[in-house]
């Protein structure tokens, strides 16, 4: 997912960071404009389109019958998949998912799975034979940085938008959502931390840390990325940024 940046641009962004500024004039703790639209795809059980600045991600959820895993015969199945289609960026190529797409899907997956956002234990149909599978498919439409936060927000929004399948095996009143995990990615450029990196910032960042929190501020998933390091103090600062920003983003899910 990393692009090539000219050294002029790199120096410019790094120098700005040194002076407490960003390329688009934002504060370090400021997201670009965020919009969440739900119910955008009729053929999906739940869907959401998230825009963060120019970044656009479409998330669709399908609910279908599936076989349970042998060790969890009565539990529903969660699958998260991400597609970085070439329409979204000149750096995306056709072919099987690369490590960027795999990481994106797995980080979103962990946020939802580990927070128990979905009560999967309520999604059994017939023990050992039939359960409900929740497929969350992330479709990146326009990549201008921070795909993880946009995708995770889209996934939670799409889950909250689910209309249960019209199927006689579906007996629940509504889809069993119990948590609202929100991921916030903090990037480090020249020892300064900033939220919501745009593409240029992402390309010059030394490291990033994605922290997914739930309503009470506790952490359900984390992922460090990038070929750099973070100090202990920076990690704690990143947590406080992520927690505060997640609360703001969660407001968008209403």
């Amino acid at each position: 997912m990393y692009g090539i940046v000219s050294s002029v641009k790199r120096d410019y962004i790094v120098d700005l960071a040194k002076h407490g500024k960003r390329v688009d004039g934002r504060g370090f703790d400021q997201f670009r404009d965020v919009s969440v639209r739900t119910d955008v795809i009729k053929s999906a059980n739940g869907s959401a389109e998230v825009k963060i600045g120019n970044t656009r991600v479409l998330v669709g959820v399908k609910i279908q019958h599936a076989e349970p895993f042998p060790d969890m015969p009565e539990s529903g199945v969660l699958m998260v998949n991400a597609e970085l289609r070439p329409l979204a960026s000149p750096s995306f190529e056709l072919g099987p998912p690369g490590e960027g797409a795999v990481e994106l899907a797995r980080v979103v997956d962990r946020g939802i799975r580990e927070s128990d956002a979905i009560a999967l234990d309520k999604l059994g149909i017939k023990s050992g034979e039939d359960v409900w599978a929740v497929f969350i498919d992330i479709h990146v439409l326009d990549h201008d940085g921070n795909l993880i936060d946009a995708s995770a927000l889209g996934a939670t929004a799409a889950l909250l938008n689910i209309k249960p399948p019209e199927d006689e095996a579906w007996t629940l009143q509504e889809f069993p959502i119990q948590k609202r995990p929100v991921a916030v990615t903090v990037s480090r450029i020249n020892d300064r931390l900033m939220v919501d990196p745009c593409l240029d910032e992402e390309d010059v960042a030394d490291a990033r840390l994605t922290i997914t929190t739930v309503e009470d501020g506790s952490i359900c998933a984390m992922q460090k990325g990038g070929a750099g390091y973070l100090s202990r103090e920076q990690i704690e600062e990143a947590y406080h940024l992520a927690r505060t920003k997640a609360e703001e983003l969660r407001e968008r899910l209403r």
Partner: protein, 239 residues
């Protein structure tokens, strides 16, 4: 697997360890003949081999970088390394782990010294018992040093977790599966910088801080064993 009633009894874990205790750790440097550098790590029931090739010519050539070497990491589990046979070849998990391992090692390497070349790191998990990515990082960083590749420091890694509301160091498979939280962390020990941090499960702010503390302390112990392995191989006497 029978679920034990409690994973921690009288402050001790199922295998008799204290919450802040590592499993037995053995590291050997230079164990493979053909590789430029290699290391073998046994951490509890984990058996992990790492081999380093390079810096060598980058193939395919269009992946060459004119100003730097490229670090490539491949984490692979042997089919017989886990309870149910693992289908050979990369899956989504190993693709992600290979990526985070690369990003954990890259900060200590002087890659700019070797433009257009590649450094390959192969990590083979021969027997798995939780904490394989961190054991793999420990093996790989010793193997990189064994290959004579210029490094700022070694990288030391360990998993911290939460088992029945206790923060514990170096989870076993049982603790990983039945506990609530797993947090692998890798550190550049001399500068105390974090190069890998992942987490899944549930941690409050306070638990997170304690988990970080425990991770830093665990890595310090591992660092000593890594250094000792290199001293043994290269015959450096203790001052």
């Amino acid at each position: 697997m029978e679920k034990p009633e409690k994973l921690i009894v009288d402050g001790k874990r199922l295998d008799g360890r204290m919450p802040d205790e590592l499993r037995s750790l053995r590291i050997e440097a230079g164990v493979l003949k053909r590789a430029d550098g290699s290391a073998y790590v046994e951490l509890g029931e984990n058996k992990v081999l790492a081999a380093v090739y390079g810096p060598r010519e980058m193939h395919p050539r269009h992946d060459q970088q004119p100003d730097t070497a490229v670090l490539r990491c491949r984490y692979n589990m042997a089919p017989f390394s886990v309870e149910d046979r693992k289908r050979p070849g990369p899956d989504r998990r190993s693709v992600e782990i290979s990526k985070v391992i690369r990003e954990a090692l890259e900060p200590v390497l002087f890659l700019k010294l070797y433009p257009r070349s590649v450094i390959d790191v192969f990590i083979e998990i021969l027997q798995a018992d939780a904490g394989t990515r961190t054991a793999g990082i420990n093996a790989a960083s010793v193997a990189l040093a064994d290959a004579g590749i210029p490094m700022r420091d070694l990288v030391s890694a360990v998993a911290v977790g939460k088992v029945e509301d206790t923060i514990v160091l170096d989870l076993t498979k049982e603790e990983d599966q039945l506990g609530t939280t797993d947090m692998p962390i890798a550190i550049v020990p001399r500068k105390q910088l974090v190069t890998l941090l992942q987490m899944d499960g549930h941690l409050t702010e306070d638990e997170f801080k304690r988990a970080l503390d425990l991770g830093f302390r665990g890595c310090a112990q591992i660092y000593e064993v890594q250094r000792q392995a290199l001293r043994e191989k290269y015959g450096v006497k203790e001052e």
